[in-house]
């Protein structure tokens, strides 16, 4: 098993193969495409399981398998595979959740004529995501990272005939590209500073002490450390991919994609890539912590952005009417929590929350997919209602997911992972503002999830679509149940009393502490959750909405605030008015320069060239041609004159000869005499 790391490439390669199969399968080959995709995921899951087993046996080791990709003049570009508990857990999670979502898609997409294409894209996405996870080189990670972006673009725009979906795909692609630019610059800088992009390389990798000591010097203007600048640039990429403020605007729009895509990409895995990236390069992010005189640490920014995002996402989620957009904003909020945990220094808490969130958010999205399919693609929560009766399994599993997300105490995984984050935030010695933002987010999360559950499943059916909704087949419900089990059970891997996950991830034994230690904070958060749940029940559960047109209780009280939040705090309008307008001006300026300045210069050059050409041609005609013509005419004239002498008369010739002879004789006489 020691060589397992050499075969780690199998994990991304299998889905990639399935994607290739899917790409060449004709439309009618549904079984082949879906079968290949699911078989590949099962295979990857098996390899991931072995890898997990191996990694947990020696949690502190970073097993690597590096190889040269190609040689350059000054060295070789090296890539590699990395196996440690973080990689193994991520792989296992992505494969497991992915497999369940693939199975769910079998039924959800069964009426779509591009079924094979869908599975091809899903496999491509899984391959790219697993490529990010197993990469031991930041270059390799970046390649996979961009492939993830591509797969996301393809899948959001899967129903590209809908203008909204096409626009959302474009928006997601461009917005994440802004962050990726930062990531790329960060990588180039890092390569320049350390000479390698390998993460672990037997003491020479960028995450190992030698390289870290080199970049942790306060060498930049203002006493900023190089590692801070590089860390922040890389964080740009992570912020774009993970939907962090201010690049979060693409994530709600990405809900235009098919629901399994939302579950897989925009909830469970892809958006977690940013969090994973920061956790992966955590030694680099903390390299500047040893310096006390620097103006800012990279992680302080991460914590601040995370706190803002956590609160902002939660606030906006309160005022959404679209079932999937509520979940999208809640995803933004939860990703903010993860970034917050990274920022305050507890990457373990972030990964714990990432894993639990993957399960319960995938569960919620698949539950939403089940509802949407049953209600004939009705997504507006005002037009649903009363589904708890006809859709019992969906209701039960969705409720478990909702409680896990809201952080209902003790039984649900979200509670434990969120407690870890709150605990870490309370111990952060820089500021307690992120803690307060996170606590406010806790109330809001409980509140909006209660609202969602009550609106969708409570009361009576408000439209014919909702009234006719029926539970789907086992293909729909079995993944829901499996994810629900995970959403409950996963939390117990990392409780304070038995911090198994934490000690496995760090490779060091973490002493268990009593649940009651720091119990004040836990009690506070339980009270806050209770307030959120209670408020949600009071506003939406006790007197359920009766008609689809009835106003929302909050909208009735504060309509302007509600519509402001409903539009996502008008970030889109704000960006359109600032960045968009600036871009428009820049484009106008470029257009002006292009048309008036560059074009004129080029036209001038063209005129010059034309003039030179004309002059050349004239000189050619008049000078050269004329000269030759004149010479030829003269030769012709001479020839004519000579030919006139050729009369053919022998007497003439004889006469000329005689005269010539006489002349020569006279000449000889006259000259010869001297």
């Amino acid at each position: 098993m020691a060589q397992l790391v050499d075969h780690l490439w199998l994990i991304p390669a299998l889905p990639l193969l399935a994607a290739a199969v899917g790409a060449v399968t004709p439309r009618r080959g549904r079984r082949l495409a879906a079968g290949a995709a699911i078989a590949a995921m099962v295979g990857s899951l098996a390899v991931s399981g072995c890898a997990l087993h191996r990694a947990l046996a020696v949690p502190a080791a970073h097993l690597t398998s590096n190889f040269s990709w190609f040689d350059l003049g000054f060295g070789a570009v090296r890539l590699g595979w990395l196996l440690d508990p973080l990689t193994a857990l991520m792989c296992f999670m992505v494969c497991f959740v992915g497999l369940l979502i693939f199975i769910f898609s079998l039924d959800y997409m069964k009426e779509d004529e591009n079924f094979t294409r869908f599975f091809c894209f899903l496999s491509l996405f899984a391959a790219a995501m697993l490529g990010v996870v197993v990469a031991n080189s930041l270059l390799q990670l970046f390649i996979s990272w961009e492939l993830v972006g591509l797969a996301s673009y393809l899948l959001i725009g899967f129903w590209f005939h809908r203008p909204a979906a096409a626009a959302a795909a474009k928006k997601a692609f461009l917005t994440t590209r802004i962050g990726d630019l930062g990531l790329l610059v960060g990588l180039v800088w890092l390569y320049d500073a350390t000479g390698t992009l390998l993460l672990y390389d037997g003491g020479h990798g960028v995450l190992e002490a030698h390289a870290l000591a080199g970049v942790a010097a306060p060498a930049l203007a203002g006493g900023l450390a190089v590692s801070t600048a590089i860390g922040l640039l890389i964080f740009c990429g992570a912020a774009g991919k993970s939907g962090q403020f201010p690049l979060h605007v693409w994530l709600p729009d990405a809900m235009e994609g098919p629901t399994p895509v939302s579950a897989l990409i925009h909830a469970a895995t892809m958006v977690a890539a940013g969090v994973f990236l920061i956790a992966r390069i955590f030694p680099l992010m903390t390299a500047d912590q040893v310096l006390t005189a620097v103006p800012i640490h990279a992680l302080t920014v991460v914590a601040g952005v995370g706190a803002i995002t956590a609160l902002l996402g939660a606030v906006c989620a309160v005022a959404q009417h679209d079932l999937k957009r509520v979940l999208a904003y809640s995803t933004i909020s939860q990703l903010g929590y993860m970034m917050l945990a990274l920022g305050v220094g507890s990457w373990v808490a972030a990964i714990f929350h990432l894993l639990t969130h993957a399960f319960f958010k995938a569960l919620l999205f698949l539950g939403a997919g089940s509802v949407i399919q049953a209600a004939h693609h009705e997504q507006d929560i005002r037009r649903l209602g009363g589904l708890r009766g006809p859709m019992r399994t969906t209701f039960a599993t969705f409720a478990i997911g909702m409680m896990a997300l809201a952080g209902v105490p003790f039984l649900f995984s979200g509670f434990w992972s969120k407690e870890e984050i709150l605990h870490a935030a309370s111990e952060w010695n820089v500021s307690h503002l992120p803690l307060y933002a996170a606590l406010a987010g806790v109330i809001l999360t409980a509140f909006y999830m209660t609202r969602l559950l009550c609106e969708v499943f409570g009361g009576a059916a408000r439209t014919p679509e909702a009234a006719h909704a029926r539970e789907g087949s086992a293909v729909i419900t079995v993944p829901l149940i499996a994810l629900a089990v995970g959403a409950v059970g996963l939390g117990f891997l990392g409780t304070p009393a038995w911090p198994w996950l934490q000690s496995r991830l760090t490779g060091a034994e973490i002493p268990s502490r009593s649940v009651l230690e720091g119990g004040g904070l836990m009690a506070l958060s339980i009270v806050l959750i209770a307030i959120g749940l209670g408020a949600g029940w009071a506003l939406y559960g006790r007197r359920a909405r009766t008609t689809a047109a009835a106003p929302d209780p909050i909208a009735a009280a504060a309509p302007r605030l509600f519509s402001f939040l409903g539009a996502g705090m008008r970030f889109d309008a704000f960006y359109a008015a600032t960045v968009g307008r600036l871009n428009g001006w820049a484009a106008g300026l470029a257009d002006f320069l292009d048309r008036r300045i560059w074009d004129a210069a080029i036209r001038l050059l063209a005129r010059l060239g034309e003039g030179t050409g004309a002059a050349n041609s004239a000189a050619d005609r008049a000078g050269l041609n004329g000269g030759f013509d004149a010479v030829s005419a003269r030769i012709r004239g001479t020839g004519r004159a000579y030919s006139r002498a050729q009369t053919g008369e022998a007497h003439g010739y004889l006469r000329t000869l005689a005269v010539g002879f006489v002349l020569i004789a006279l000449f000889a006489l006259l000259v010869g005499r001297r």
């Binding site: 053919g648 022998a650 007497h651 006469r655 005689a658």
Partner: protein, 103 residues
Amino acid sequence: MNPLQLSLGFSSILFAVGLTAALARSNSILVLLGLELMLNAANLNFIAFWRYGPAPEAATGVVFVLFAIAVTAAETAVGLALVIAIYRHQHNVRLAEATSLKG
């Protein structure tokens, strides 16, 4: 007037008569006769310069003249053949009318 000068004067007159005949007559045969006279004037000069020159013992002048006569005979034969060809073509031997080489 010594004999050489008399000989040269005679050959000059003979040459002038031959030239006049060659230029003035229109009959091709008479033009050829004129040419013969001019050539014989030249032959006469050879003989004269040999006979009254510094070395009259060697027969150089006679040999020269014999060669010239042989060449002239051949030339005259070609000339007469041409005259016959012209006559066959245009049924007279007027030199002024034989201006074209094309048959």
